[in-house]
Subunit: 139 residues, 4 copies
């Protein structure tokens, strides 16, 4: 089945725009945080510790697709529910459902890859096959 995590978010004044609602890129910040929270909940170390062990600097995004249904504002608590829908050879697909109680606010699908810093050129990063030990922890 795969693990599921839920992460609470307290929506803040500074998350909202002049229309008084959450500015949409904030949801993507929260999905990004929920992705790392998912891995850390599964026992994976944060990237800055992992980089010292195996050179992995993170899981950059290759593609994201989000649908927005309802708005939220500050003073509300919302939740990001996160799973890995599919593990592929070099990528994996996250699903994030953001809710306020029973109301679904938005849903996002992310395609990500584990990346290492390039040994020859430390300014570049490149995708690697999904590490088996990490995948095993998440199932």
């Amino acid at each position: 089945m795969g693990k599921k995590t839920a992460m609470d978010i307290e929506v803040r004044f500074g998350d909202c725009d002049p229309a008084g609602i959450v500015f949409f890129p904030r949801y993507h910040r929260w999905m990004d945080a929920a992705s790392l929270n998912f891995f850390m909940s599964c026992g994976v170390k944060p990237w800055h510790e992992l980089e010292l062990v195996n050179g992995i600097v993170g899981t950059p995004l290759l593609e994201i697709h989000t649908k927005f249904y309802k708005t939220a504002t500050y003073g509300e608590t919302i939740e990001v529910h996160t799973t890995v829908e599919a593990w592929m050879a070099k990528t994996f697909r996250h699903r994030h459902v953001v809710r306020r109680g029973d109301t679904v606010l938005c849903e996002g699908t992310e395609l990500r890859a584990f990346c290492q810093r390039d040994a020859a050129d430390p300014e570049r990063i490149r995708a690697i096959p999904v590490p088996e030990d990490i995948q095993a922890l998440c199932q």
Copy 2:
């Protein structure tokens, strides 16, 4: 054909993450800015002026789909090229192509709707048909 706009972005240190590359939600902030820049380039007033005239508070996002191909870092100048691909009854679809010179960094498609503050409940906003005068300015 429809108008096309290009907006320059100077990538800043604070736009980048610990992997040293632009943190992806920043691209969505830039696409959002490019959307308003598109309308203002077509002669539409910024929302805070428009709200006083016709109650429009902005064009909240209904859906976004972005593919990321190449990374960027601070000290670089990139461009967001923006069009309206389609005008529907109550929505419109933006296309944003983000480039560094000839290199396409990412491409995003946004579905948006013009919204007004609800007269009965000023804390709520609701979608309205695309205003004809605004659509005319953009073609």
Copy 3:
């Protein structure tokens, strides 16, 4: 003495810069959130509810002074400890101490004023005397 509040912050990947440490404006976002959290903990409503009652749209900042002692990174939990140090006629002074366990990361002092939307020109906001009922709730 005055109330004291503490707000937990989970530091996220996207809060950190290419040096791998929290990008300093994030601390000011957290202090801003800690300020509203302080008032809400004292029983004051969030501004979007208060605006409907008495026109208060928030407590814009007049001055901030922050000293940074230690860095933090993602995967860590930190706390913002908040008080009101002084209530003046039209302003008040917050003190925020940000800690990771016993380690003080930074300390900030904020001068703020309660503001209302200007009745004659709703695009402008202006400072008002500190509302007595709000001050009473916070002591």
Copy 4:
């Protein structure tokens, strides 16, 4: 006398809060960008290039003090005027004045230090004396 730089900022919808004005931490992001812009205008390379040469990862902030006088909103163009007020042994002091035309919006003073990644523990950074070649470029 020392160099002076001016950096234009187009204020965006997403820079503004529910009161419709620029959310104050954005000014600090812009001051941070104006600091790097100052050094790059003086001929200093961006940190990610400098790190490969001399290990410098940036100029983390030690202290900031900002006074806010006037508000700004989206659709406006503002400027950040930046100087180095003083060079000390291990630190330097920036002054940023943010203006919209002749109107001063806010003024900030930053104390910063050049930092390198610690050789023994690459997760830590430490302050170094201000590099003479960099100081020479800025005068």
